[in-house]
C-alpha cells in the first residue's frame, strides 16, 4: 500500500474554521426582490378562483422560492456535493413515508375496510363550521 495516497488527506492546515474559503456573495437584494414578487403572485393566485391556478401559484411558487433561498442564501451549490444528496435523501424518505402511510390515512375506504367514523366526524365538522367554539372542552375529560 502506498503511503502517498494518504498524504493528500492530511487536511487543511487551517486553525480558524471557515475562513480560508470565502463564499461568493451575489446580489442578495435582487434575490429578495424576486422572492417578494413571487409572494405577491402566490397571494394573488386564488383571486382568479381557478383551482389549478391556485395550486400552481401556491405550491409551484413555494418550490421556486425555497429553491432560491436554498441556492442563493444557503449557498448549497458551493457546499460539497454530499450536502445536496443528504437533503435530497431526507426529502425522499419523507416521500416514502407519505407513500406508505397515505393508503391508510388518506383514504376512507380500501380493500375490505372503510372508515365510517372518520367520514362522519368530518361531515359533522363541516356542518357546524364557524360554531367551532365549545368543542374543545367537550373533548377532554
Amino acid at each position: 500500500m502506498s503511503h502517498d495516497d494518504h498524504a493528500h488527506a492530511l487536511g487543511h492546515p487551517s486553525s480558524e474554521p471557515g475562513y480560508e474559503e470565502h463564499t461568493h456573495h451575489g446580489n442578495y437584494v435582487k434575490i429578495w426582490a424576486i422572492l417578494v414578487v413571487l409572494l405577491v403572485v402566490s397571494v394573488a393566485g386564488p383571486f382568479l378562483e381557478i383551482q389549478v391556478v391556485t395550486l400552481i401559484t401556491a405550491f409551484g411558487i413555494a418550490v421556486v422560492k425555497a429553491y432560491l433561498v436554498v441556492k442563493n442564501f444557503m449557498h448549497i451549490n458551493v457546499a460539497p456535493r454530499y450536502v445536496g444528496y443528504l437533503i435530497a435523501t431526507t426529502l425522499m424518505f419523507m416521500l416514502l413515508f407519505f407513500a406508505g402511510a397515505a393508503p391508510d390515512v388518506m383514504k376512507s375506504t380500501g380493500t375490505n375496510w372503510k372508515k365510517p367514523a372518520w367520514v362522519a366526524a368530518h361531515e359533522a365538522a363541516l356542518h357546524d363550521d364557524g360554531g367551532a367554539a365549545g368543542h374543545g372542552d367537550a373533548a377532554h375529560h
Binding site: G11, G18, F59, M94
Partner: protein, 192 residues
C-alpha cells in the same frame, strides 16, 4: 478547558465543522417537519371540509409574515457577507435586524393572529384542521423564537469580531426556518 479541541478545527470532510453540523441539524429538522406536514397533507387531501376550515385563516397576515421572514432572511445573508468581510459591527447590526424580523413575526402571530382566531372560537381542539394549524405553526414559531435567542447571544460577540463564523451558521438555520414557512404559508393559508 476553554480552548476547543483540535478535533473541531479539522476539516477532512471539506467543510468547516460548524457548517457541517448545521446541515445535519437541518436534515434532522426536515424529517420532523416532513412527518408533521406529511400527516397534514394526508388529512387535507381526504377531506373537503378542510378547505372550509382553511377559509377562516387570515391570508393577509400570513402574507405579511412571509414578507417579514423573507426580509429577515435577506438581513441574515447580508450579515453573513459582512462577517466574511471581517466587519464584525456590521454583521452584528444585520443580526439584530434579522432578530427584529423574528420578533415581529412572533409578535404578529402571538399578539394578533392567534388571539383573534381563538376569540372567534377556532381553538386547537376545534377540529383536526385547527389542531394541525396550531401545531405546525406553533412548532415553527418555536424555531423562530429559538433562532432569535441564539442571534441575541451571538450578535454582541460578533460585534467585537469574535466567532464571526457563527453569523453564517445561525444564518443557515434561519434560512431553513424561512423555507419551512414558505411551505407552511400555502399549506395553511392559500389552499382553500
Amino acid at each position: 478547558m476553554s480552548a476547543s479541541p483540535i478535533a473541531t478545527t479539522r476539516t477532512t470532510a471539506g467543510m468547516p465543522t460548524g457548517r457541517l453540523a448545521v446541515w445535519w441539524v437541518i436534515a434532522s429538522e426536515i424529517v420532523i417537519f416532513g412527518g408533521l406536514l406529511g400527516s397534514y397533507i394526508m388529512f387535507r387531501l381526504s377531506h373537503d371540509a378542510f378547505a372550509e376550515h382553511a377559509a377562516h385563516t387570515n391570508t393577509w397576515i400570513g402574507a405579511i409574515n412571509t414578507l417579514v421572514l423573507l426580509t429577515s432572511s435577506l438581513f441574515a445573508v447580508l450579515g453573513h457577507k459582512a462577517a466574511d468581510a471581517g466587519d464584525g459591527p456590521k454583521a452584528a447590526k444585520f443580526l439584530y435586524l434579522t432578530a427584529l424580523g423574528g420578533v415581529i413575526f412572533a409578535g404578529i402571530k402571538f399578539g394578533y393572529e392567534w388571539p383573534h382566531e381563538i376569540a372567534l372560537g377556532y381553538t386547537i381542539s376545534s377540529n383536526t384542521f385547527w389542531s394541525f394549524y396550531y401545531t405546525a405553526a406553533g412548532i415553527h414559531a418555536a424555531h423562530v423564537v429559538a433562532g432569535v435567542i441564539i442571534m441575541l447571544i451571538i450578535a454582541p460577540r460578533a460585534k467585537r469580531n469574535f466567532d464571526l463564523h457563527r453569523v453564517e451558521l445561525i444564518g443557515l438555520y434561519w434560512h431553513f426556518v424561512d423555507v419551512v414557512w414558505i411551505f407552511l404559508f400555502p399549506l395553511l393559508y392559500i389552499a382553500k
